[in-house]
């Protein structure tokens, strides 16, 4: 079975390695470029509480310079999906479509061993690819994480720590399960895309904010407390009156401070003058590893569930 799995998937494995090397080269080059700019412009010094002179606009300037990279790397969220579509979905579906499963399952190896071996090896491969991707991205994002203060916010969280390995394995499992249940490759690819995106975005929007109960802090307008300023993931930011009643919409601006021009200082002091308070709901930065573990557990759990379903389905529902 080891030989067969390798023979059938070596092309895919080589493609993954080739793409990985290409992507790695790009990331190393751009990462080095960001680091040297980071050092040359003294961005690091400007992040410390005691700022040296000439810091105005340095951080912003750095982010402006690498705007292209910052907007582009978010697309890497879709990389696991490639694995799910091109390796996962055809795994069982293409065998059934070409009736080669009748060949594979009538040799001396039971189909349970056939599917379990394939799942184990491919999931292992996906996990290794995911870990390599995570390490590379964590290194690449280091200057950006220093600026943000942590990797708690989704634009960093989704690329670092433990969770991305889970995304890779889950994407693969979703593709395999879809191909197994549908027995047709193309529809399975479609279903895998939808299911993976729903799982990822559903997690960010609905589950991850509630992994642990969020903290709330109320402060005078525009004076961010240290806990939030230090890279926390702010879930909600609203204005309320001194008694704690939230203002709806733009009430505070339109009613209390109408006509005050937009220059920031004036508006802020007007709001503070009326006793307006800013309430921040946030997940603090020091929960990063706990959240990573929970997210990894969630995606691994989904993967294991789908693999069990796949094995059962192969044993009982396909002929």
């Amino acid at each position: 079975m080891l030989w067969l799995t390798w023979r059938q998937h070596r092309g895919e494995a080589l493609a993954v390695v080739a793409v990985g090397v290409g992507l790695g080269a790009v990331l190393v080059l751009t990462g080095l470029q960001m680091r040297s700019a980071f050092d040359a412009q003294g961005v690091g010094g400007c992040l410390s509480p005691v700022q040296p002179a000439n810091c105005s606009g340095v951080v912003n300037g750095f982010e402006q310079q690498f705007q292209l990279y910052l907007s582009f790397y978010q697309w890497f969220n879709l990389i696991p999906l490639v694995l799910g579509i091109f390796v996962g979905a055809p795994l069982v579906a293409r065998e059934v479509e070409r009736t080669t499963h009748l060949l594979a399952w009538t040799q001396g190896v039971t189909r349970t061993r056939w599917i379990v071996t394939k799942l184990a090896l491919l999931a292992g491969g996906a996990a290794v690819a995911g870990i390599a991707f995570t390490l590379l991205m964590t290194w690449w994002r280091q200057p950006l994480d220093l600026i943000a203060g942590s990797a708690m916010r989704p634009d960093a969280f989704d690329f670092e720590g433990l969770a991305p390995a889970g995304y890779f394995v889950a994407a693969l499992s979703i593709g395999i399960a879809a191909g197994t249940l549908l027995r047709r490759t193309i529809p399975a690819m479609g279903v895998a895309i939808i299911a993976f995106l729903a799982l990822r975005f559903g997690t960010i929007a609905l589950l991850r904010p509630n992994f642990m109960s969020a903290l709330v802090v109320s402060t005078p307008v525009d004076s961010r407390p240290a806990a939030v300023g230090n890279g926390a993931w702010v879930l909600d930011d609203r204005l309320s009156d001194g008694a704690g009643h939230a203002f709806s919409g733009r009430f505070a601006f339109d009613q209390l401070c109408a006509g005050i021009n937009d220059s920031k200082g004036a508006l802020t002091s007007c709001l503070q003058h009326h006793g307006v308070v800013e309430s921040l709901t946030y997940q603090p930065a020091d929960r990063f590893w706990a959240f990573q573990a929970i997210e990894l557990g969630l995606f691994v759990g989904v993967s294991v569930g789908l693999m069990v379903l796949t094995v059962w389905w192969v044993r009982h529902r396909i002929s």
């Binding site: 023979r7 009736t99 009748l102 001396g108 190896v109 002929s319």
Partner: protein
Amino acid sequence: MTAAIESTGLGRRYGRQWALRDCTLRIPAGRIAGLVGPNGAGKTTLLHLAIGLLEPSAGSIEVFGISPRRNSKEVLAKVGFVAQDHPLYRGFRVDETLELGRRLNTTWDDDVARSRLARLGIPMSKRCGDLSGGQRAQVALCLALAKRPQLLMLDEPVSSLDPLARREFLQELMTAVADTGCTVLLSSHVLADVERVCDHLVILSNGSVQVASGIEELVSGHRLLVGPRRTGGDAVAGAEVVQATHGERESTLIVRTSGRILDPAWEQHEIGLEDLVLAYLRNTGAGTMPEPELAGAGEPR
């Protein structure tokens, strides 16, 4: 002696549709059995049940006394299977296909496989996708034979082949069977092929077994009767009518009988296998053969 295949009340349902129903069957070891019947009669379903690709919805099936679902590893080790259209991995070279067989089977005779393919002139370095249909069939057969099976099952092995490839395939099959003495069950809707190769016949229609018998016993157990036109019922003393055709002056009956027909009004003839099978296929309800008396006839138990 255990039968190669024995089923009791075997049935398989897809949704509400029964593909195979109440199938009680015994194929003795050492036979070369043909499985015939119209498309959709349940031939593939029966073969898939026998190798454990499918789970029975009702009843049971055993291969050499072993359940193919519960002990699939044991059954897989004893059975060679060539599925319909001889599926092979198209991207694999021929030698890689043999490597697959060698790695996935506990018993494997590499020399036999290689010399067989060499004799047939099939190049080892060619990809299976680039082989002709006849060559693919030969590779698939070779793969099934190299595991030295005690039972070889083939699903419509020659239906997609041209006449020459068909002849070559069957010749190759017969040689191998003569060498190894394994039991064979092959499905086909080409009666001529079955008649040439097989010594045992199973007729399936509408998902149930109509006939299961040695071919000799089957032929000798039937008569073609020709006599004056009968207006009343078709009953004949000492025989069971499979098919009755009434012309203007004559009636022609195909009957199953254990002895001779005593009624002197009937002129008695031998009947060929093809006519006999067609008579059964045409009259699906008419004569369901009692079982397993005939199936086991001439076979020491």
